[in-house]
Symmetry: C2
Subunit: 133 residues, 2 copies
DNA sequence: ATACAAAATAGGAATAGATATCATTATTAT
DNA sequence: ATAATAATGATATCTATTCCTATTTTGTAT
């Protein structure tokens, strides 16, 4: 009961996600995996992306604009969305921005008894390409 | 051209939003305003909430779970969502959590030329009522 | 190898949240 | 009071995601 079986589709989805560092959406994953699996359905992509997240093999990146992106990099790191092109970029742990702007949040108790157990910080701005040229 | 005309519905929406500090969703606003305006449509509620946001008279609170809440409090402050009951609470500026965990983000340049212009921090945990009892 | 049970898929329908359209109504300047 | 036009209500549409069911694939036991 509850034994997980592998599937070519799931492996292709995982391989694709891990090969990219640009935080694709479910639809982008679908548009790429379909090249090797012409009959794959969008439902399968969603099901497997959720599966990977449940297994701790991927994370979701919910953005300010409401779109949901997926990330195969599961070690803690921050994200940054370009307000011009919409792409999501990583902010490395050793980047000065990370260290100076945000401090990891330990548990903290508010006056009313609320307990803060974590936080999500999402940066925005303009990426190199959109400021650059 | 482009002159704004007032409407009873818009005023009711604004009044309702300002009367509450629990960050209602568009649907919650609709379910309440409809008591005074039985024929109001959901589209009108969405249209006017967006209008208030555009006018700087309200802000949106996009949550990690994808839901969008509205807030009539426009002075800078942080939010905190209870992972158990889902309610959104304010974190006051003078609360220790605010001061110790997050530092306001000035413009910052990364190695690749990206410029960080802002950030959003969203806290989560358990609210007083959900830890309390 | 073969058969069986469970898990996973494909395809499509269903849902939810949000937007857009458009004829009608309400508000405001004159 | 009238004309111009902004705003509404009702409905249609859109997008992202989930759900359903018959079929296929996979792992295991024989």
């Amino acid at each position: 009961m509850g034994t997980i079986k592998r599937s070519k589709q799931r492996e292709a989805i995982k391989t694709f996600l891990y090969s990219r560092h640009d935080h694709p959406t479910a639809e982008v994953v679908y548009n790429n995996v379909i090249k090797d699996f012409p009959k794959i359905s969008l439902g399968t992509v969603y099901r497997n992306l959720s599966f990977l997240v449940d297994q701790g093999e991927a994370i979701t990146v919910p953005c300010e604009d409401g779109s949901v992106h997926f990330d195969g990099r599961i070690t803690p790191h921050y994200h940054f969305q370009c307000t011009k092109c919409g792409r999501i970029h990583d902010i490395d742990l050793d980047d000065p921005v990370y260290e100076s702007e945000v401090i990891s949040a330990p548990q903290k108790k508010l006056e009313d008894g609320s307990v803060i157990t974590g936080h999500v910080t999402f940066f925005y701005g303009l990426c190199g390409e959109c400021t650059g040229n």
